[in-house]
């Protein structure tokens, strides 16, 4: 059978393969190469070794954006997962209207980052105006604003994953714990959470990488105001590319560092929680 299929290789593979080369492989390899070059367009690229990386690491705004992003990713990870887990627990109880509530909590997830940013900008500025201030005046307003926005957007998504996890816990395990006299809290920490580790792994992985990669919401809610203090890494890279001529190489070097960071953190996180998973 393999032989017969093989003859049809071009029809099956080529469209995806060519698009993949054009849309991913070529830009990726070019990106790595250009991070070692000075250029404004590709044709005038000149090899300069690691100097772009040195410039990137020397950039204080970039370093600030790293700490700001890291803090954001951790806080949003905790907020999203705690609330999503609690909601999932509540909405799997016997109660009227759980389906409707699931529908409502998931909805913000479908709205695009730019649109979300402007919706919340109106609300935050409306609230802050009554205290005589505004979102763009303090980097921590922007920080907590983004936390609220991202929680609002992603809690529903993670909730769905947690609900799927909760529903896959076999009923007899719960029953056994109950017969053995485990209290509600004990059952939660000794049975439910260990059994849920695969879902927790996925949700934590998704929320921490989403936190680091956040771009649209940052651009529309604060655009880095005040003076780049609320700029996160992805936005900083974008501004380095398109805001300063002559800095394209540095931007690309930052992008490579960013890529390594995101992959590294994802891997560490997966390792850490996978090790806590139990065999069912």
């Amino acid at each position: 059978m393999e032989k017969a299929i093989k003859r049809y290789m071009p029809i099956f593979i080529l469209p995806t393969f060519c698009a993949f080369i054009l849309g991913f492989i070529v830009p990726f390899l070019m990106g790595i190469w250009l991070s070692f070059c000075k250029f404004t367009t590709v044709t005038d690229a000149r090899f300069v070794g690691f100097s772009n990386y040195v410039d990137a690491l020397k950039d204080t705004v970039f370093r600030h954006s790293f700490w700001y992003t890291a803090l954001f990713a951790i806080v949003s990870l905790i907020m999203i997962n705690v609330f999503a887990f609690l909601l999932a627990l509540a909405l799997t109880q016997k109660m009227k209207g759980t389906n409707l509530f699931r529908t409502i909590f998931f909805m913000p997830n479908l709205i695009g980052g730019i649109v979300l940013g402007y919706i919340w900008q109106l609300i935050f500025n409306g609230v802050l105006a009554s205290f005589g201030t505004a979102l763009g005046l303090n980097e921590w307003y922007g920080f907590w604003g983004l936390i609220i926005l991202v929680s609002w957007q992603q809690i529903g998504y993670m909730m769905i994953i947690y609900i799927a996890g909760l529903q896959s816990i076999p009923g007899d395990v719960m029953e056994a714990a109950q017969i053995d006299g485990a209290s509600g809290i004990q059952r939660l920490f000794k049975v439910t959470i260990p059994m849920m580790m695969p879902s927790i792994t996925i949700c934590m992985f998704l929320s921490i990488t989403n936190g680091f990669k956040l771009f649209d919401q940052n651009l529309s809610l604060t655009a880095g105001e005040p003076s780049k203090m609320s700029e996160m890494m992805a936005l900083n890279i974008f501004n380095t590319f398109y805001g300063r001529t002559g800095w394209e190489g540095v931007g690309q070097a930052k992008a490579v560092l960013f890529f390594i960071l995101v992959v590294g953190i994802g891997m560490i996180q997966l390792r850490a929680t996978r090790s806590k998973e139990v065999q069912q």
Binding site: M1, E2, A4, I5, K6, Y8, M9, F12, I13, P15, T16, F17, A19, F20, L22, G23, P27, F28, M30, G31, L34, T41, V42, L91, Q93, M95, G97, R102, T103, F106, I111, G112, G113, I114, V115, Y118, I119, L122, I123, G126, I160, A164, S199, I202, C203, L206, K213, F215, D216, L219, S220, M233, A234, F241, E248, A255, F258, V262, V263, G266
Partner: protein
């Protein structure tokens, strides 16, 4: 028993309030979209009254002056086109990769998985150069870019499913004289229907809302997507028309809500399936 019922009643009540709070931001924007623009920043939380009411004037501005309907149209075109192309091409590719084990197909599979973890910033600059050079900066061309960039997740999910299809069914079809193409389209494709829906929904959610990729790739003088059009309204120097922005936000949210309510079950299933695979 009645005590239990009471608690569940209280729970429902609390969640009803929480749910209302949850959708409040959208309702506030909806309310403001009917106000005159000067009153939106001053009093965003009051209902429009005789003095502040602007009717549907804001919507007319958004549509006439900022061409929002054409932006919605292009976004729809790009989303539907890309998702269809991605579904057909990547499912065929995934089937081939799982059925024919060679060094080449294995490498391709690993590359696809790898591409899922690469953040867009890594390739954004070079991708926009490639798109410019190859003249893919049109709504038609961007479909190819989306196929390339979205292939990772789609191939990965389809491969996961193809592995679970018993080989005997396909062998039987081939022995009966089906070509691989016919086998794929009349035997494999119908079995994979649930995966098509999951992948289709995940890709639709991504492409419809995507801002940066079309912003960098498209020829913005000619084509804008909804997100880009809204960003332009806000980012353009000079006076920002808050009224038109409110109307535009609502116009951007409506298609999403319609889509959500019409295939809500599939969306929630698709998300759960996608997460378990990821």
């Amino acid at each position: 028993m009645s005590k239990k019922k009471m608690w569940s009643g209280i729970g429902t009540g609390m969640f009803a309030i929480l749910g209302l709070v949850y959708i409040a931001p959208i309702l506030i924007v909806l309310m403001n979209s009917f106000k005159k623009k000067v009153y939106i920043n001053k009093q965003p939380f009051t209902l429009p009254d005789e003095k502040t009411l602007n009717g549907i004037e804001n919507y007319i501005t958004a549509i006439d002056k900022y061409n929002l309907l054409s932006a919605v149209g292009w976004t729809l075109f790009i989303t539907v086109g890309s998702v269809l192309v991605i579904l057909v091409c990547t499912s065929m590719c995934a089937w081939y990769i799982t059925r024919v084990k060679t060094k080449f197909t294995q490498t391709l599979y690993l590359l696809c998985v790898f591409s899922m973890v690469v953040p867009f910033q890594m390739v954004m600059f070079t991708l926009s150069l490639v798109a410019d050079r190859t003249k893919l900066n049109t709504p038609w061309g961007i479909i190819i870019i989306y196929l390339g960039f979205g292939a990772g997740l789609a191939v990965f999910m389809f491969c996961g499913f193809v592995k679970s299809i018993p080989l005997e069914i396909e062998e039987a079809a081939m022995i009966d004289g089906c070509t691989p193409l016919r086998t794929f389209f009349s035997v494999v494709l119908p079995i994979m229907k649930p995966t098509y829906i999951s992948v289709g929904i995940l890709e639709t959610m991504w492409i419809w809302n995507d801002f940066l990729l079309p912003y960098l790739v498209l020829d913005l003088n000619k084509y804008k997507t909804v997100s880009i059009a809204i960003q332009y309204m806000k980012g353009s120097y000079g006076r920002v028309d808050m009224g038109a922005i409110m109307a535009a936000l609502i116009l951007a949210v409506i298609p999403v809500i319609v889509f959500y309510l019409s295939c809500q079950k599939h969306i929630i299933k698709g998300v759960a399936a996608g997460a378990v695979k990821g």
